[in-house]
């Protein structure tokens, strides 16, 4: 019988390029990758089980800890679904402040994704430059909310702290500096010949297979699909949000899409600060019984919460659907098989920005 598979190569669970533990088994023929499958289960914490039976004010803090990188959106979607269940009115000023915090979170998450991609393809200089920029964004989050990662900023009916007048004046100045720097690194990435050699035409995901396999987030937008939950959000509609779509379909297109989304987020924050309505930031409100399915746009794609509460505001049932599970599956089914080199497996996998902590919860 003819031998087809030469060798099966495992990547991970501990791999210098992956931020979180995941195992990829690749079957190769020479340098060609024939097929691959993923092995999850190294980060399982059972968060949904812990959440059941607890009152919302405890679950609010647990929901933030589902993901360390995109914690603000988890808080936001959870609180928004609680508000929709009980019909709590939200202060308009707080709605804008939520968007500002969320966009800062998106900037730092996209920067981290690009950092790991640059690190994976071996361009450590650019990775360090971007890491430096990310630190300034984390400082902005800390100034606004008091903490770098687990902000716990959003509560039913509003936000916890108002923004001070001094910050209102100083944030656009610092954002301008950030925009200049990000443009510089974006230019560095787009003109680098060796970066193009490792990124252009590698990890191609066609629009058809992205649609069939339900790819979400920058992965779908990099393949030409206009799909963004922010388009349905009332505040983003007021800020004239338009989703960025790229038709490149490869690693290079996805990384450049994230760079352009960072620039877009900076503009969104500037517009939100300029048109910030006045008034109180908290309207109060007590959660009631009910159930709902609510979605929001996380940095990695669509994030959905299914929540069922009782009279006292306790969570009876909860299910979280995170974007990374779809994206990892698309990557394993469509992007990695057929790669011309085993060396590209890690970079293709990192280019979809997988978040294993989100996926397994």
């Amino acid at each position: 019988m003819k031998k087809i598979v030469d060798i099966s190569i495992p990547l991970g669970p501990v791999h210098p390029c992956f931020r979180e533990p995941v195992r990829i088994m690749c079957e190769t023929k020479g340098e060609y990758v024939l097929s691959c499958e993923t092995e999850l289960g190294y980060m399982k914490r059972g968060i949904e089980r812990i959440m059941r039976g607890k009152p919302w004010q405890e679950v609010m803090f647990i929901a933030e800890r589902v993901c360390g990188v995109c914690s603000v959106i988890h808080n936001m979607v959870f609180i928004e679904s609680i508000e929709k269940i009980s019909g709590i009115e939200v202060s308009p000023r707080a709605l804008y402040l939520r968007v500002i915090a969320n966009e800062f979170d998106r900037i730092q998450s996209h920067l981290l994704a690009n950092i790991s991609y640059c690190n994976t393809i071996g361009h450590e200089t650019l990775a360090m430059y971007l890491l430096n920029e990310r630190e300034s964004v984390m400082d902005e989050l800390e100034r606004l909310t008091g903490a770098r990662v687990t902000c716990s900023y959003i509560i039913p009916g509003g936000v916890r702290f108002d923004i001070s007048d001094e910050e209102m004046r100083s944030i656009p100045v610092r954002l301008k500096k950030l925009e200049v720097n990000v443009n510089q690194w974006m230019n560095m990435f787009s003109t680098g010949p060796l970066i193009a050699l490792r990124s252009r035409g590698i990890g191609i995901l066609t629009e058809e297979s992205a649609r069939l396999n339900h790819a979400v987030g920058p992965l779908a937008r990099g393949s030409g699909i206009t799909f963004d939950c922010r388009l349905e959000h009332p505040v983003y509609q007021k800020l004239d949000f338009v989703s960025i779509v790229s038709n490149g379909k490869d690693n290079y297109a996805r990384v450049m899409l994230r760079f352009s989304e960072i620039i877009q987020s900076i503009d969104l924050i500037k517009t939100a600060l300029a048109t910030l309505p006045g008034g109180l930031v908290r309207f109060g409100g007590i959660p009631k019984a009910g159930e709902i399915t609510h979605s929001g746009e996380a940095p990695r794609g669509q994030l959905t919460y299914f929540i069922k509460t009782d009279d006292a505001g306790r969570i009876i049932d909860i299910a979280i659907e995170t974007p990374s599970i779809m994206n990892i599956e698309v990557c394993m089914q469509k992007m990695i098989p057929g790669l011309e080199s085993i060396a590209d497996v890690a970079s293709v996998f990192v280019s979809i920005d997988p978040c294993i902590a989100c996926t397994e919860r």
């Binding site: 009152p55 004010q57 803090f61 509003g158 916890r160 702290f161 109180l280 930031v281 109060g284 006292a312």
Partner: protein
Amino acid sequence: MVSLYYYIQEVARLRWWKSFFFPRTQALVSPPYFRDFPESTGNPCSHTLLCMMVCPSPGAIEVLKTEKGWIPFIHKECCIRCGICVEACPHNVLQSGKVREWTQIQSSHLNCSFYIEIKDFKCTGCGNCSSACPVNIEIRDRDSNSNKLEISNNLVIRVGSKGKVKVQNSDKCTGCKICETVCPNNSIYIVKILEARQGVVN
């Protein structure tokens, strides 16, 4: 020999010794707006226990009795630094980052009430919760001279006529959860209802 000569020449400089003993790198200081572990402001604690009741992390804050009076004690291994206790404290005992300052600027506060839930199909009517409840004990001590029926009507929870525990005055509950711990059947639950408000206190 030459390398040894250079080595001695290097070490003999005054600047080398200065940089060796007095490094110029400054110690890391967290910024004033960072929401760190709650600290005491020095105001006397009035033992309302609201900080303990609103804390989302189990066992992170305890109000202990010392020679100087009641003090809130933070268990740093459990505290998640959310700053909810700082917001809830009515007498400005705790502070953490900009939380204390902003609650005063915004005049924001947390309305805290408690909902007592009794599962009738599990309750055996033993009355442990009623006799252990500290508010009940206080009421009994205070009104020991008055009519017995009057006392039992004032209690938070008591064993009713049908042999089941019933809730009478849930607004008096302080949320200490002692009834939860003494219940042999896990049939009583205290749920805190928190409302974040801004403006004048009702």
